[in-house]
């Protein structure tokens, strides 16, 4: 068994907008997720983090690049082996309203994956459904309800139970808390952390909420317009961000702390994220970057290790500009 459960090399996912234009949603990204860890993936909308997660699960076909799961290249998997991969890798979606089929009862939703992967008798199936409902903090009174009768937090628990039903080892959590209220967000994050501890799960946690990502992740990757700009342990990313984009992102988080607020240095980004359709060469962040020089507009920087376990893609990050 290798150190990494999921490994993607040079992963690209392009969408053809029309004959001439290409949307580069994910552009040469390397990701490696260790067994049992949580890798956080942050970035603003349109940065490709969701596409990246879905491509890793083979829900989208990668344009180029390789994805290894447990040492096996997944794009070559067929039939039984592909099914086995789906048994191992699952996803939890952002919108608890559109991710549950409105015509199915909660128990039918949870049973969907079990029917495919586990051959269970009806009695065993029922027991397992109740077990899963309890594991995610619901009771069996929900089993025969429809999704629209549940609150957002309860629906998200059902979404997690559906993923857990097939006993996966890897779960992509695609913005699982963004659509929920603050107090419910904490419930779901606690649930995810507890399940990880109990079942030894590996997570890819995608979110734009930096404080939650920091809280749940061991390592964090920051994406900007389809490329990974920084990857480091979650402490390092928040205490000593090296990429100018990461720095701006962190200083933009509104902190719910009255006294600390005024003392915190504010760094504001000018302008908005440009379109990911046919981006110009060079560093993607260069047009908004205050440190940008000629080389930034010409050449795309590579993601390089600047400190142990701290990778940055920036031409200038070695000159200490923070």
């Amino acid at each position: 068994m290798g150190e990494y459960l999921v490994e993607a090399k040079n992963l690209c996912k392009y969408f053809q907008v029309d004959r001439k234009r290409t949307l580069k949603a994910v552009d040469h990204v390397d990701i490696a997720i260790r067994r049992g860890e949580t890798l956080g993936l942050v970035g603003e909308s349109g940065c490709g983090k969701t596409t990246c997660g879905r491509t890793l699960l083979h829900l989208y076909d990668a344009t180029s690049g390789e994805i290894y799961f447990d040492g096996k290249e997944i794009s070559r998997l067929r039939g039984k082996e592909l099914l086995e991969f789906k048994h191992q890798a699952q996803i939890v979606f952002q919108d608890p309203y559109s991710s549950l089929d409105p015509r199915m009862t909660i128990s039918e939703i949870i049973a969907e994956g079990m029917d495919v992967h586990l051959k269970l008798s009806p009695k065993e199936k029922n027991e397992r459904i109740n077990e899963l409902l309890l594991a995610v903090g619901l009771t069996d009174q929900f089993a025969n309800r429809f999704a629209h009768e549940l609150s957002g937090g309860q629906r998200q628990r059902v979404g997690i139970a559906r993923a857990l039903a097939v006993d996966p080892s890897f779960i992509v959590c695609d913005e699982p808390i963004s659509a929920l209220d603050v107090s419910i967000q904490a419930q779901i994050v606690n649930l995810l952390i507890r399940l990880q501890r109990e079942r030894g799960l590996t997570y890819l946690f995608i979110s734009h909420d930096l404080s939650m990502v920091k809280h749940i992740s061991d390592r964090v990757g920051v994406m900007y317009l389809g490329s990974m700009v920084e990857l480091a342990s979650s402490e390092a990313i928040f205490s000593a961000p090296k990429h100018p984009y990461t720095q701006a992102l962190i200083s933009a988080i509104p902190v719910a702390d009255f006294d600390g607020e005024e003392s915190r240095k504010k760094e504001r980004l000018e302008g908005e994220v440009p379109s990911p359709i046919d981006p110009p060469p060079g560093c993607r962040f260069a047009p908004r970057c205050r440190y940008a020089t000629d080389i930034c507009h010409k050449e795309m920087p590579k993601l390089e290790e600047v400190e142990r376990g701290h990778l940055v893609a920036c031409h200038h990050c070695l000159n200490n500009h923070s």
């Binding site: 879905r54 829900l59 789906k86 996803i91 952002q94 089929d101 409105p102 015509r103 992967h117 097939v166």
Partner: protein, 306 residues
């Protein structure tokens, strides 16, 4: 401040039983739809009227003392009398009986036509949407070609080629292009569902394409398809009436509402009763189906469920 017993101020904390109870009653989709439909008085009335019409079509000719094709030269061109509530035509046939017999034909054409085109349209549109890409492209171009052929030409060609003007020929002629609209509509619906997150979840779970269609796509499009079928029925009824009126439809001694209207029109100025009753039936049936369709749309549309 009021006096409150001291023991009321012991902290008891959270009692598990209190949290996460569902306050609202359990309502399934179809029951909820029925509840909304019931509230729509107009649709309900239309439903009742249609029910009466159907019952009359089925049973009235059975209990009527006259046969619909029996001519009675002694009672030609009778007005509305007790013996002949709707009068008789120029051959002395009882119009009351003929209207209900004609109703059988008209309603059959409406229902069967709409159902057949819904089934074909669903399968066709579903396949196009599911496979997407090139398949979808080619299939939809075919539909566009078919839609652009005027259906009158198709009907005339059919009756010439098959050399018959029976009920079956007419159904065939009308459904041969009639399903195209449904196919387009179903395709659009399915495309929407295809990008829904629960379809993606099913894909991630490794659910087979066939099961995804049966479990997710069909139940979720059922409501809108039912509505669309209901709205299609009056179209078929009217087409039949129109074709029969143009003498392209049912031939004597068979009858339908269209045939009745057509044969009554020459004596319209003297015997308006011959025209009014079948015309009224056509209008009433079409109106009822449209109103029911409206009611169903409001009842089945999941968008504004509360």
């Amino acid at each position: 401040m009021q006096q409150i017993a001291k023991e009321k101020f012991h902290i008891i904390g959270i009692q598990e039983a209190d949290t996460d109870v569902i306050a609202r009653p359990h309502v399934s989709y179809w029951r909820d739809a029925w509840r909304r439909f019931r509230k729509n008085k107009l649709a309900l009335t239309a439903f009742a009227i249609l029910g009466v019409l159907v019952i009359l079509c089925v049973f009235a000719p059975v209990f009527s003392p006259y046969e619909y094709e029996t001519m009675d030269s002694s009672a030609r061109l009778s007005g509305m009398t007790l013996q002949h509530p709707f009068g008789t035509d120029k051959l002395g046939r009882d119009i009351f009986t003929r209207v209900w017999i004609g109703g059988r034909v008209s309603l059959t054409i409406g229902l069967v036509g709409a159902l057949v085109s819904a089934v074909i349209g669903c399968i066709y549109g579903g396949i196009a949407a599911y496979f997407g890409g090139m398949v979808d492209n080619i299939m939809m171009r075919i539909v566009e070609v078919l839609i652009s052929v005027p259906y009158l030409i198709v009907v005339i060609l059919m009756s010439v080629v098959l050399d018959s003007k029976s009920l079956g020929t007419m159904l065939l002629a009308m459904t041969i292009t009639g399903w195209c609209g449904t196919a387009r509509f179903v395709r659009a619906q399915m495309l929407q569902l295809k990008s829904a997150e629960y379809t993606l979840a099913a894909q991630a779970l490794g659910v087979s394409p066939w099961k995804t269609v049966v479990r997710h796509f069909i139940p979720n499009t059922m409501g809108v398809i039912i509505v669309s079928v209901t709205f299609d029925i009056p179209g078929y009824i009217f087409s039949e009436a129109f074709l029969s009126y143009m003498n392209l439809g049912i031939q004597p001694p068979g009858t339908s509402w269209g045939v009745l209207v057509s044969s009554a029109q020459s004596q319209f100025q003297f015997y308006p009763n011959q025209l009014i009753f079948p015309a009224l039936m056509i209008a009433l049936t079409m109106l009822c189906f449209t109103l029911i369709g409206d009611g169903l749309r409001d009842a089945l549309d999941p968008k504004d469920r509360k």
